[in-house]
């Protein structure tokens, strides 16, 4: 009997600690700190944006609305505080490692380093993380959803061209 309770308690603890390693928990940990600029867009807001007919991409080739509809969470943290920045960076690194994210791209130039990670399949992106470091400035972007990889890449390319 004790063994069953112990096993269930262990599962419970594991479950809680596993859920603590995601974009949401990193956001929760650092967003209220002084010197941190934070943006959170909830799944409900994504659904709301998706329902508004006026929001479309107009002349753009890529239908951004369909990409947005397939997102269900956006977490952004920016800081220039070196101590907080280091914390965000190392926590995010642990998160991408534990979350089995794959390194999509890495660029380093003039002390500026940017790394992008995704998790999912060849066709669907379930999570996207961008970590960038420029001097003391740290930026963390995490997107959750069920986004078609092709559409996401096209949307990023389109947004960069604008």
């Amino acid at each position: 009997m004790k063994k069953i309770f112990m096993a269930i308690a262990a599962l419970l603890i594991l479950g809680i600690s596993a859920s603590a390693q995601d974009g949401k928990s990193i956001y929760k940990k650092y967003s209220d700190m002084d010197g941190v600029e934070a943006v959170y867009i909830s799944p409900a807001m994504f659904r709301l944006i998706g329902r508004i007919p006026d929001i479309n991409v107009g002349d753009d080739k890529v239908n951004l609305a369909s990409v947005i509809k397939s997102m269900n969470g956006l977490y952004i943290l920016n800081t220039s505080d070196p101590k907080i920045g280091d914390g965000i960076y190392s926590t995010a690194e642990k998160f991408v490692k534990k979350g089995q994210y794959e390194l999509l791209m890495e660029a380093k130039e003039n002390g500026e380093a940017t790394r992008m990670f995704t998790v999912g399949t060849d066709k669907i992106v379930k999570g996207f993380v961008m970590l960038s470091k420029s001097g003391e400035d740290i930026s963390f972007i995490s997107i959750d959803g069920e986004i078609e990889r092709e559409k996401l890449e096209a949307a990023i390319a389109e947004a960069a061209a604008d």
């Binding site: 269930i8 419970l12 959170y40 867009i41 807001m45 508004i52 952004i76 940017t114 960069a160």
Partner: protein
């Protein structure tokens, strides 16, 4: 010995009288077997209650985490949220573009060096 059907037809009073009749021999080890069975039944029931309680806690924690994540939307206006998403995608796009430029300039530098080496060898 009475059959099961006969026992089932007996009233509670009759059953009580029979149980109090000490002249009826009790099979040896019946008491220990019966108490063992009762103990086992209790253990199974307690285990089932424990598992059900744990599952209820797990479910409760899951539901609570989903509904009370403690996070508040930065924007209450979906249009502003949309602009922020667009800005974020643009930032990601610029980072991709910059990395492409780094690759391109590195390639140009490599090409120049190769040409220089080739020219020197001629």
């Amino acid at each position: 010995m009475k059959s099961i059907e006969q026992i089932e037809k007996m009233s509670l009073g009759d059953l009580e009288n029979v149980s109090l009749d000490e002249t009826i021999p009790v099979p040896s080890g019946l008491a220990s077997r019966a108490s063992g069975l009762i103990r086992k039944q209790r253990q199974i029931r307690a285990g089932a209650i424990g598992i059900a309680a744990s599952l209820a806690i797990l479910l409760g924690v899951g539901i609570w985490q989903n509904t009370h994540n403690g996070l508040k939307d930065t924007f209450s206006d979906p249009y502003l949220a949309y602009v922020e998403i667009e800005k974020t995608l643009s930032k990601i796009g610029n980072a991709v573009e910059n990395s492409a430029e780094v690759v391109e300039s590195s390639q140009e530098m490599i090409d120049r060096r190769i040409n220089k080496v080739l020219n020197n060898n001629r």
